[in-house]
Symmetry: C2
Subunit: 150 residues, 2 copies
DNA sequence: GTTTGTGCAAATGCTTTGCAATTTG
DNA sequence: CAAATTGCAAAGCATTTGCACAAAC
């Protein structure tokens, strides 16, 4: 299992960041990071809060919100708004760059990766003379019902 | 000037939709549509509300929210969430498919269009066996300071 | 011991809802 | 005139803020 070691690497990333920024290494910050990395979902704050309560870990929502900003800033977490006014968070380290397909009827979220997005990015950087450090691409779709039958 | 005639075409689109859906043709719905099409910005509800008040047109925010759903459903308006928890709206008819670059330092929004996004879309539809009817692509960037000097 | 971070509760801000009054067809 | 739509105010959520207490360094 690589679970333990990879979680440790992520925690070390956080430590490096906290030291560099002269922020404090509080147990809450590590616990929240761990909770996110133990999940494969796109978590909103309430779900995260509930999950931690279930584990008998007490954190306030204020701390959750504060910590998310930190984790986003050090690139360990990515933030999403799929269009329903619920902000969701997802681990990003060891998880690769990817984008999302939102199935509008069920709310399911699929993930994909396409190298052409990188090419578009480079073109845009050249044309507009900007430096792009983030992107988000969402496809809103529904499953095809038609199968090969006819 | 094509302003008047194109606005009329958009209004006719709304009329067709309202009739088809058996919704009522209220003056508020046309006034809101007009206000959005008179603007080139990405408007949030409060700004839209203020703009209409300035023109001495009284609408409630409830009606604004309701009407936005209608205008989105008939593809006359597109909805955006650039990541700051403010929902913005933009005209979409006569305005072409395009995506956005958000300059994170100034909040400025640039627009672009790249055909490769369509190619990615088709690939995804094939691979995942889905039908994509919407997408949103945002690049988060900042302006390059380096010029050709030196 | 200072200063930063946390928790709590109150405040804020965007959006939705309930209902009476109005308007559309 | 029946049903849909509007406006208003209240209610609902997600998020932020202020401040006393606790914890990190």
């Amino acid at each position: 299992m690589t679970c333990f070691s990879s979680l440790n690497i992520v925690k070390e990333e956080l430590t490096k960041y906290l030291i560099e920024k002269k922020y404090r290494k509080t147990p809450e910050r590590y616990a929240i990071l761990e909770e996110i990395y133990n999940s494969n979902e796109h978590l909103d704050i309430d779900t995260l809060f509930a999950k931690m309560q279930d584990r008998n870990y007490r954190v306030s929502k204020a701390t959750l919100y504060n910590t998310m900003e930190i984790l986003i800033d050090c690139n360990l977490v990515r933030k999403h708004q799929f269009g329903d006014n619920i902000t969701r968070f997802e681990k990003s380290f060891f998880h690769g760059k990817h984008d999302h397909i939102i199935l509008t009827d069920t709310g399911e979220v699929l993930e994909f990766s396409d190298p052409r997005i990188q090419e578009i990015k480079e073109t845009i950087e050249d044309i507009f003379n900007v430096k792009i450090d983030e992107h988000s691409l969402y496809f809103y779709a529904f499953r095809n019902t038609k199968t090969i039958e006819n």
